[in-house]
Symmetry: C3
Subunit: 285 residues, 3 copies
């Protein structure tokens, strides 16, 4: 049975690039189902591409084929691969770190290098810049439609060697958990950290209790305050900040009906450090 | 036969939230057709969510299942419901005013409260913030795919009690029709009012004749001028303002190939009042 | 067999206009496949609509039906047509220049004028502003679904007379190729010119060699520098500008991982002139 093809890129949808990818995929199989993850990955931001995959992959049925094209190294020797994840999905992508989170948190069962002598749109040989359309989507569509099986992608490669971006693990020092701000919940300006709920639970903070949140970037401290740990936004006032567990079961910081990122000028990446500790008991008299 | 599932939210498409909803729906039924209304509702803007539903619902085939997730009260006691409209469509939504226009202008035949002991994605119990994906889309997909019928949503509720936002009706005082600016035609900056064409016709203004348009917000008057009542934009010069009947058969104000909203700083909501009256006959000598 | 329907407009996706078009198309045939080219054409920009069609059309399977609605003349006497292209696709559009590039570069085999007494959504007669939904998409959906064949669109018209926007051809003066900047690769800020690779090859510039690029607008020169002619972005440093052949096999100018258009304030249209010539040999000692 044909599987769904899910596309991600940093192409945006304002010009014809994504539409051409759809056309190529339907040329492979007119009955293929094609959906989008997003095409609004910030240009060349491999980290965010990797994050959006871990955020969504497991919600799609087993067998789904993802194609992710965020490819600042197009034209270099970076490899073009397809990976089979340990939970039974497929990802076709340049081997440039796009699989960082999936490899660490889900696992890769097998990896194949795309054989472009077979898996490349006919007549496309002069175009050096459109790997996304002519190789990645074409190969993904063939895999999803069953024109080729996973072995048909090309020669096997060692999953261990798939490129990973540097990741800093959350840590607990006996009093605080320390982590980084991985990504924003774009539309709502919430901060998504790399601190798993399990790690946070070592602080012994219950719902409704207070957490001391500290955010630093290099030598600058940008935020330090006591926030409620809430089940959901509705547990705090409109305009009040909160700490909560997000849909990935990691800790997040937000303002109810406001944008935390905009309010305090917070960004993302390994230089954005966040620490959480149980707030001291305060008695006002 | 499976029905189409149509999704609306204020999530945007830049991160994985909408994609995860698609994945969950396909997990319910791999052959389901899923389309979008829009995911660019301004954050937490229930009024606009309600308006986009009335603007589009009747263009979709009978039986279509809409899921609308603009949910500032997520985590509160607000109810989660599915409604059957009097013209045979379904809407799954938090009961927070999202059905305001549909209830008033189309009518609700029946309402069911979602039984989350049945209609909730398995294994999602720890996530308090993702009702959109785990409850609303999951329930909508089951309804569209025929996994459950409308009764299978949960216990019946009284359609009369479905939450409505305050609405001000257009009125005619013998000389002018008075209304409010409900919403913008976003890309073109046109003002869409709540004044039905039928009400406007009481002014006796024919195509090509002039209308006096007054726009006020509280104590401020922001616009007063004589505009042509036109069949379409092409009846006036490029850059000329006009009054016309929009696709909802309500009166609208625009600038041909310009943005009326941007030109005069006009917004939307019940505080934005607009009055139309037949322009006095002017004789230039 | 039903063909795919591909929609393009300047409507954006923030309000319900595109969604209503989808609903109307599904009302024609519940099993129709509907995809988007883009809905982010700048408002009223017929030139860009024409360009996005030539950019994508041939990547879609034969028989695909495109509907393009960028229609500043809605309500005027401009004709509504469907065209059959020489490579076997169909385009339903106002006859306002939207077919400029397709007519010149692909060719039109036949043109029909839409007979609105047949091909118009029932009950839509009062709406003068929504041709996109009630006529173009309705007709396109009927054609894609096989409800009508091409003759069923309406009476035949002369393909020669289809409206074209003025186009300036690239030219070679023995030393330089001269052209215009047609369009931007929106997300990446690259300049796409009307200079075919074949024309450029007359300069005798090989990969890695330098090209003198001059950009002028009227009497202003905005850019003059020596750039590498590169196979792809990866052949130059990050931040370095380059000349390359784009996916349409025309010459383009970009900055690797930057935006050339933003860097130098470059726009598009027939007033934006670009010249390329082989750089003189430089010897640094």
């Amino acid at each position: 049975m044909a599987q769904t093809l899910v596309l991600q890129s940093d192409f945006g949808t304002a010009d014809g690039a994504v539409s051409a990818m759809y056309g190529v995929a339907l040329g492979v199989s007119p009955s293929l189902r094609i959906c989008d993850l997003t095409h609004e990955i910030p240009q060349y931001d491999i980290w965010e591409a990797s994050y959006r995959l871990i955020q969504t992959l497991s919600y799609w049925p087993q067998g789904t084929v993802f194609v992710s094209v965020v490819d600042p190294g197009v034209g270099t020797k970076r490899r073009s691969i397809a990976a089979q994840t340990s939970n039974g999905r497929y990802i076709v992508t340049p081997d440039n770190g796009t699989l960082t989170h999936i490899k660490r948190m889900v696992g890769l069962d097998a990896v194949r290098i795309i054989d472009e002598s077979v898996n490349r749109l006919a007549g496309s040989s002069e175009s050096y810049t459109f790997y996304g359309r002519d190789v990645y989507v074409y190969t993904g569509a063939r895999l999803a439609a069953g024109v080729i099986d996973f072995e048909g992608v090309g020669p096997e490669a060692d999953a261990e060697h798939v490129v990973e971006l540097p990741v800093i693990e959350a840590s607990f020092d006996g009093e605080s958990v320390h982590g980084t701000i991985d990504v924003l919940d774009v539309r709502f300006g919430s901060l998504w950290t790399n601190i798993p709920r399990k790690e946070f639970e070592r602080l012994g903070v219950g719902y409704g209790q207070r957490v001391e949140v500290t955010i630093e970037n290099g030598t600058r401290m940008l935020y330090k305050n006591f926030l409620a740990f809430a089940r959901s936004f509705a547990d705090v006032y409109v305009g009040e900040p909160l700490v909560y567990a997000n849909s990935l079961d990691c800790m997040a910081v937000a303002i109810n009906q406001g944008s935390f990122a905009a309010a305090y000028g917070i960004g993302t990446g390994v230089n954005w450090k966040i620490s959480l500790r149980k707030a001291p008991r305060l008695v006002y008299e």
